[in-house]
């Protein structure tokens, strides 16, 4: 008997990036085939920016200093009856912003300058295993699991926010057919455990001061039926039941359908229910950088919504060149949602459960066409009508533009020897919080203006990779006075949470990608 010598093969991939703000990034990836069935991959990412960019001269850094290190190692096994994967990931990320002079490791609570800190560390183990039946390709078992620990330490000014979270997740799926492959099903169970500890305090009188601990334990079961009578039609009906230890029973039905009318036209519709538990403070750390008192006026309930979606995609030929045209429409109707109300008072952020209606209509139209050989044009329009009952009134959600236009021209020669890319986007007005300020001169407008962003990139390809140079925000557009009252950050009317546009100006970057096989 002769053993086949394991064929080792290794691929390396490097990427380095530098921009005019002084940000550096590096990526190193390695893929190694260990044997016929085993392979491993390592992905390393690091970025670093320690310069203090203050283009508008308000004493505040336009973007925080940042440094991150991220490593992921994954092993894959590909056998005849078993495919399996296991990986570990570690990430450390630190950000230091605020007034110039605030540095990594400084304590914002005692710093003489106003500081913004956002430090996170995360460790995760994840994996999945599939059991296959080569003679019955429609049948199989799947198992997925992950365990993560993450901790967070940050805040702004004299505010502190710290949290740690331990999460475990497992699911098992079995799939098979009913009679023949026109009727397929998936069923299984899942379990989520999430332990979350948060601490928040500040020196502002009337501000939230609390430690919040919660442990969510959510076993669930699900069943999904697929009806596939022919290649042109698919119907998926799914149902899941989750038993939440804190919030009770969740039932989540889901329905999807796809119909290819002919080879040029495809329609999709979907409907379903969704729910999530929001991490109020962690997800809204932008509010920390203001003198607003954070007031949690009632205990938060999970967010629940109904979602409906439909889309039409058409692929045609116009003057013998491919033309793609896609229209998407989504509608979300919230049963409950957390409202972050900046409208009631300029010195408060009041958080409560939705009372009244809240919905989002989104319509997106996109067309792609090859103008001449190698030159493709993509144009899109996005319409978001997102309204919430805030401060007792149904009104547009703040900092969300209703209209957005997008145009992209991409020129790519054979083998990507040259790639030239140009993108223009036009962003419509946002509603800004109505702030009945006492000091009249601090009153901000209730809507933001239209503004354009232009970016471009040129890349030269080689056999080993490419070199690229590009720029973002080429028109150098900046929101005028993004911070309210920057001279007095520890005072009563300071607010850096009213940002609707870019704060940093034009940015030029360059980089290189290198591959060794």
């Amino acid at each position: 008997m002769e053993f086949k010598k394991p064929e080792e093969s290794e691929t390396w991939y490097f990427n380095a990036y530098l921009n005019s703000f002084g940000r550096m990034e590096a990526n190193v990836n390695n893929a190694t085939k260990l044997s016929d069935k085993w392979s491993t991959g390592i992905l390393v990412h690091a970025n670093y920016m320690a310069s203090e960019i203050d283009g508008n001269d308000d004493g505040f850094m336009d973007l925080p200093k940042s440094r991150q290190f991220n490593i992921l190692n994954r092993y894959k096994y590909h056998g005849e009856r078993t495919v399996s994967q296991i990986g570990i990931q570690y990430m450390i990320d630190e950000n230091a912003g605020g007034q110039r002079g605030f540095d990594f490791g400084d304590d914002q609570l005692t710093s003489p300058v106003y500081g913004f800190k956002n430090n996170a560390r995360r460790f995760e183990i994840f994996g999945k295993t599939g059991l296959l039946f080569p003679e019955k390709p429609y049948k199989g078992w799947g198992f997925q699991y992950s365990m993560a620990y993450q901790e967070f330490d940050g805040g702004a000014g004299r505010r502190f926010y710290g949290a740690d979270e331990k999460t475990g997740y497992f699911n098992a799926i079995y799939q098979n057919i009913i009679g023949d492959t026109r009727h397929q099903f998936k069923t299984g169970l899942s379990y989520l455990i999430d332990d979350f500890d948060e601490t928040y305090y500040s020196d502002l009188s009337g501000d939230l001061d609390s430690t919040m601990n919660r442990t969510e334990s959510v076993p669930g079961v699900f069943y999904e039926y697929n009806f596939i009578p022919n290649e042109d039609f698919t119907l998926v009906a799914g149902y899941r039941l989750d038993f939440h230890n804190l919030y009770g029973l969740y039932n989540t039905p889901r329905l999807h359908a796809r119909w290819a009318m002919n080879k040029h036209m495809t329609f999709r519709v979907s409907a379903g229910k969704g729910y999530r538990t929001a991490n109020i403070l962690m997800e809204n750390s932008q509010f920390f950088a203001s003198s607003r008192r954070i007031i949690l006026s009632e205990s938060p309930k999970p967010e629940r919504s109904w979602n409906f979606g439909s889309s039409m995609a058409s692929h045609m030929h116009l003057f013998e060149k491919p033309l793609t045209f896609v229209v998407d429409y989504f509608y979300t109707d919230f049963i409950n949602q957390l409202i972050y109300d900046q409208d009631q008072a300029s010195d408060k952020l009041i958080i409560y459960n939705l009372q009244g209606s809240s919905f989002a209509h989104s319509l997106q139209v996109e067309a792609q066409y090859e103008l001449v050989k190698h030159l493709k044009m993509k144009a899109a329009y996005k319409y978001y009508d997102v309204r919430q009952t805030t401060n007792g009134k149904l009104q547009p959600v703040t900092f969300t533009p209703r209209d957005r236009y997008f145009l992209n021209l991409g020129y790519v020669t054979d083998y990507e020897k040259w790639q030239i890319d140009f993108t223009w986007s036009l962003n419509g007005p946002n509603r800004l919080p109505t702030a009945p300020m006492n000091a009249g001169d601090l009153q901000v407008d209730n809507t933001s203006p239209w503004y354009s962003m232009v970016s471009g990139q040129i890349s030269k390809g080689f056999l080993w990779g490419n070199i690229y140079i590009g720029g973002e925000n080429l028109l150098n557009f900046r929101q005028p006075n993004p911070i309210i009252n920057p001279e007095d950050p520890f005072g009563d009317s300071f607010d850096a949470s009213m940002v609707w546009g870019p704060v940093a100006g034009r940015m030029i970057y360059t980089g290189i990608r290198y591959k060794i096989k």
């Binding site: 190698h374 030159l375 020897k417 140009f422 040129i458 390809g461 056999l463 096989k517």
Partner: protein, 108 residues
Amino acid sequence: MKKFVMIFAFVAMAIVANAQAETVEIKTSAICGMCKSTIEKALAFEKGVEKSNLDVKTKIVTVQYDASKTTPDKIRQCIAKAGYNADDVKREEKAYTKLDDCCKDGGH
């Protein structure tokens, strides 16, 4: 507007017609579609090569090149460097060992 001008200048550069186009046919050791794309890609990045097309059945690659910038011999060297025999020029073994299994001798 300046950016548009720049883009179209690049486009124009790329379309400029070749000066002294000549053609050579080279017999290779290619065996599959993957070999075809490996060789054609290597040639695409070789100085002076305008166009190439490999016929997997006959293993013959037809190369259009600019005679003022390269020679048939340099083109054969380029193919050998990618891991394939080119007429009488032997492949580079180091490149050959890195090819996918289906591209190696007896792989098909």
